[in-house]
């Protein structure tokens, strides 16, 4: 069954079709959330809320539009709202909440899953260290830039698609992405100095 058919069925209220759609995109959504929210409970809450929003809005979704950019848009909007509500108060890098697990190991896990063995060849160790430095610099970006960075370089989206997600001109996306790269470069330089 193709995606359009799944969407049609989900629009008619078929939960199984919606579950299949969720299966197709859940990893991308969760990955984007995790670039933003460290606390695992918060990430899970936001993830659920996003999919409930997708479910609520799917009846209004027009099939001629791109489904995944629509899901990305909902995710991006929710992440920014979350940041406005909690991130600015320091929760972004704060200690875990009552039941939340502050996941500081996710980057190490990512490096491991990428097959970069930090204990073996020195080139791999260097690569892993470089990734950690880059990520530390990424975390200094503002929310919008960080999301644009993640969509462009980690999720591999085109500028046009990112522009659609953020509802902004392509030129603006290019400028924000360029400034993000320059800021990361400056942070890395500072680190080296």
């Amino acid at each position: 069954m193709d995606e359009a058919e799944l969407i049609r069925r989900a629009q008619e209220g078929e939960h199984a079709a919606f579950a299949t759609l969720m299966g197709l995109y859940q990893r991308r959504v969760m990955s984007l959330i995790r670039t933003f929210i460290r606390n695992s409970d918060d990430a899970a809450d936001v993830f659920q809320e996003i999919w409930l929003r997708v479910f609520m809005g799917i009846k209004r979704f027009r099939l001629e539009a791109t489904f995944y950019t629509w899901i990305y848009r909902i995710t991006v909007n929710r992440c920014i709202t979350w940041h406005d509500q909690y991130g600015r108060r320091g929760k972004l890098h704060a200690k875990p909440m009552e039941n939340g697990e502050e996941d500081d190991d996710w980057l190490e896990r990512t490096i491991y899953l990428q097959g970069i063995q930090t204990t073996e060849a020195s080139s791999d160790r260097h690569k892993a260290a470089q990734l950690q430095k880059i990520w530390a610099a990424v975390e200094t970006l503002n929310p919008k830039q960080r999301l644009i960075f993640s969509l462009r370089y980690q999720h591999g989206l085109q500028v046009k698609e990112i522009a659609e997600i953020f509802d902004m001109p392509e030129g603006t996306v290019k400028i924000l992405a360029f400034r993000a790269v320059r800021q990361i470069r400056d942070k890395l330089k500072e680190e080296m100095a």
Binding site: H15, M30, Q48, L52, F55, G57, K59, D103, Y153
Partner: protein, 291 residues
């Protein structure tokens, strides 16, 4: 090339992503040749871009994701359309029904005031604590309900069905308020009851009165509080019903989402889903844009 030419930010971006026009590219290259420091800067950016494009997606906690998906599907499977609103406990009044009566009261007040018949008396004269009183035709009106008093314990709370605009709140001892629900102090008292009264029945009635007669952000916030925080399901339900027509408010939508995900009562989760779906359909009609 002009000696003073400097590349703009856009030139740097187009150079990096390879979309600069050949002529402009040549000009930029000449500029870089003449500015070795900037050329080094450009190389660094190019190298970093190459590194960045190899950045992996963050590793996802599979267990967490699967559990979250299960919860989403459980929320949806437990949901059905919202029930029709039911109100039998109070006489339903039109939202603006109090206006003619209030206007009449105002005219009466002006007339009596001119005749010098309105007298301000200390509350103690009526055995009432707090606020100022007017005694007109034997009706004691108290304009201050001291809602901040934590010991407030209202025994009787009812709409005067005859006038439709007065409420009576009676405390165990000698506390009585007869006022218009248009009075902000009375609204505050009702809000206080919703948040603090020990008796669920009174909280419920206060919600109904607020919904019937009062409006504004403050009322909305109190209803959101009751809908999401009250320990009794019937009170949460009443608050949700009072708010279901205010879906254009982002906080209200958020509260219904919260109810859908977190409320322990399946009936209320179903109600929230129905309300959100209804709102979705209304938005689609109002704004026929697919995304």
């Amino acid at each position: 090339m002009s000696a003073t030419w400097e590349p703009r930010e856009g030139d740097w971006i187009e150079w990096l992503d390879g979309t600069l026009e050949p002529q402009a590219r040549a000009r930029f290259q000449r500029w870089l040749d003449a500015h070795p420091e900037q050329a080094r800067d450009m190389r660094e950016l190019q190298e970093l871009e190459a590194d960045l494009s190899l950045m992996p997606l963050p590793a996802v906690d599979e267990e967490l994701m699967e559990e979250s998906c299960r919860r989403v599907m459980a929320s949806l499977d437990n949901s059905q359309p919202a029930p029709q609103r039911q109100r039998a406990t109070l006489v339903r009044l039109q939202r603006w029904a109090w206006l003619p009566a209030a206007a009449a009261a105002l005219v009466l007040g002006v007339v009596l005031g001119r005749q010098g018949q309105l007298t301000r008396q200390p509350l103690a004269a009526h055995g009432i604590r707090g606020g100022a009183t007017n005694n007109v035709d034997g009706v004691v009106e108290v304009s201050t309900a001291t809602p901040s008093r934590r010991t407030l314990d209202v025994q009787d709370l009812a709409v005067d069905a005859r006038s439709g605009v007065r409420i009576r709140l009676q405390e165990t001892s000698n506390y009585e308020i007869n006022g218009s629900t248009a009075d902000v102090d009375v609204q505050n008292t009702l809000s206080y009851i919703v948040r603090n009264d020990r008796e669920a029945e009174r909280r419920l009635t206060a919600i109904q009165l607020l919904d019937e007669h009062c409006s504004g952000d403050g009322v909305c916030q109190v209803l959101i509080y009751a809908m999401t925080q009250d320990p009794v399901a019937s009170v949460r339900r009443e608050a949700a019903l009072a708010l279901q027509d205010d879906q254009q408010d982002a906080m209200v939508r958020q509260s219904f989402l919260k109810m859908l995900v977190e409320d322990p009562a399946p009936e209320l989760r179903r109600l929230a889903q129905g309300v959100l779906e209804e709102q979705g359909a209304a938005s689609a009609q109002a704004q026929p844009v697919g995304r």
